[in-house]
Amino acid sequence: MVVLPVLITLLAAILCIFMFRSRSWQQKITLASSGGHFAISLTLLWVVQRKGIQVLQVGNWPAPFGITLAVDLMSALMLVITGFIGFWIAVYSIGGIDEQRASYGFYPLFNLLLTGVSGAFSTGDLFNLYVWFEVMLTASFVLIALGGERAQLEGATKYVILNLIASILFLTATGLLYALTGTLNMADLAIRLAGISPKELVTTLAILYLVAFGIKSAIFPFFFWLPASYHTPPVVVTALFSGLLTKVGVYALIRVFTLIFVADIPFTHTLLLALGGFTMVTGVLGAAAQWEIRRLLSFHIISQIGYLLMGLGLFTQNAIAGSIYFMVHVILAKTILFLVAGAAERISGSYDLKQMGGLYRQEPALALLFALPALSLAGLPPLSGFFAKLILVKAGLESGSYPIVITALAVSFLTLFSMSKIWGEAFWKPAPAQLKKRPKNPYIWIPILVLTLTVVVIGLWSEPLYRFSYQAAGQLLDSSIYIQAVMGKIP
C-alpha cells in the first residue's frame, strides 16, 4: 500500500517508453497513472488516519538495517496533493505541450518526476531520500531542457549546476552523519542523536542539511537558480515544478528538523525563522521589479517558501499546522497562476506584461480564474490563503515572535501589490496589439477551473483541512509516534 504511489508512476513511465511513438497512448497512460496515484493516495490517507503511520520494511529487513518506507499524516497529505496536481497538469498538458516536446519524451519524464516526488514523500531513510531526490532532479533536468531553446539551455545549465552542488552537500552531510551515528534510518537517527555529545557536531550537520535542502527549496541566500530557470520551459513544466519541486525540499526540511535535528532548537529553529523572514522579503521585492509574468510568479514562489519556513521556525503545533495548511494552499494557488499565465499567453502571444493587455474585456472568465488564486495568494478572506496566513500569524503572536509576524503581514501586502500589477497590466489595460481569437480548449480550461474551485472550497470550508493539519503537526512534533511505528518499540 505504502509503495503503490511510487510503483504506479514508475510503471507508467516504463509503459510510456514502450509507447514512445504514440502520443495519444502516452497521454492515456499518464492520465491513468496520475489519476490512480491520486486515488491510491486518498485511500492511503484514509488508512493512515484510521490506523496510524503505515510502514513498509522493504525486503522484510527489520527497521534500522533495511530501507524503510513510512507514511505519516503529513506524507499522506503531500502524496494526495501530488496526485491531484499531477493529474490536472497531465490534463492541461494535452492542450498545452507542443508536438515536438511530447514526442521527445515529455510523458515518461513527467511520470518519473512524480515517482521521484512520491518516493521522497514516503521514504523513512536518509540515503533513500537522496536517491529519490536524484530521480526527481534527473527527470526535472531533462524536462527543463526539453525543447532546446536558447533561454531554456541557459536556465537548465544554472539549474543543473546549482542543484548538483546541493546534492553533493546532501551526500556529504549524509556520509558524515553515518560516520557519527552508524545509521541512516530516520527513526533510528532520532534515537541515536539524542545520546550524542558534543551537541555542536550534531548542529554542524544540521546546518549542512539546512544548506543542502535550502538550495533545493530556494530559501533566502540560495534561491538564485529559481528565477533564472523556472520561466524558461513551457508553462506546463513550470507549473509542475512550482507546485512540487521546491515543496519537496521544504518537506525534507520539515521532516529533518522535527524528527532528527531537535538537539539545539533555540539555535537551529531561530535561524530557520530568520531565513524564512528574509526569504519572504527578498522574494516579494524581487517580484516587484519584474515585467515577465512567469519570472514575477517565480519570485513569488520564493516569497511563499518563507511562510512555510516561518511555521517550522516557530515550532509549535499550531505553527507547523499552519505550514502544512499553507503548503496545500500554495501548491494549488501557484500551479493555477502559472496555468493561467499559459492560457493568457495563448491569447495575447506574450509573457511580457508590457505587451499584454485587454484580457479582461476579451476573456472575463479567465480574469476571474486569475483573480481568485491571486487574491488567495495575497491572503484575502475568504480564500484559502487568508486562513493559512491567519494560522501562522496567530501562532507567531502566541509565541511572541512579533518581528516575523510584522514581516509576514507586510509581505502579504506587497504580494497584493504584485498581483494587482499583473491584473492591471495584463487584464485591465487596453490591449496594445490585436488579441488572437482562439477557441476555448477544454483541456486548458477545465484544470484551471477545477483547481480554482478547490482553492475556493478549502477557503470557504477550511475547518476539516485545518483540523487535519493540526493532527499531522501533532504527529510530527511527538517523534515517539514515528519512532514506535518504524522501530516497533520505544527504546
Binding site: 515536438q100 533561454a151 541557459e154 544554472k158 543543473v160 548538483l164 553533493i168
Partner: protein, 131 residues
Amino acid sequence: MTYLLAILIGALFSAGLYMMMRRSLVKILIGLLLLSNAVNLLIFTAGRLVPGRPPLIPAGAELPEAPFADPLPQALILTAIVISFGVAAFAIVLIRQTYQKIGTDDLNELRCTDLPCSMEIEEPAAEKEGQ
C-alpha cells in the same frame, strides 16, 4: 591511511570548489566531478579503513571480529557513483548543447534568463529547418 585519505578528500574538495568558481562551463563541470569523487571517498572513509579483513561473521558469533570495515558505506558509494555517473553524462551533453547554441562557454555571457536578451531574435534559421 585514514590521515592520507583525509588530506586527499580535503584537497579534492578545495580543488573542486576552486574550479567551480571559474567562469568557464567546462571547468565547472570538472569541479563538479572532483566534488562528487571527494564525497564518495568521504563516505568510504566514514566506514573505517581496515585492509585485508573482510567483515565476515564466524560461525556461531553475532558480530565479525573486532577491527572490521563497515560494508554499508561501500554499498552506498556504489549507488552514489552510478548516480553521479548518469548525472555527469547528462551535464556534459547539456553543456555541449549550450555551447553549440550560444557559441561561448563563458558564464558571464549566459544572461538571457536574467536580462532581456537581444540575441533571442537571431535564433539560427538553419537549425530550425534541420530539425
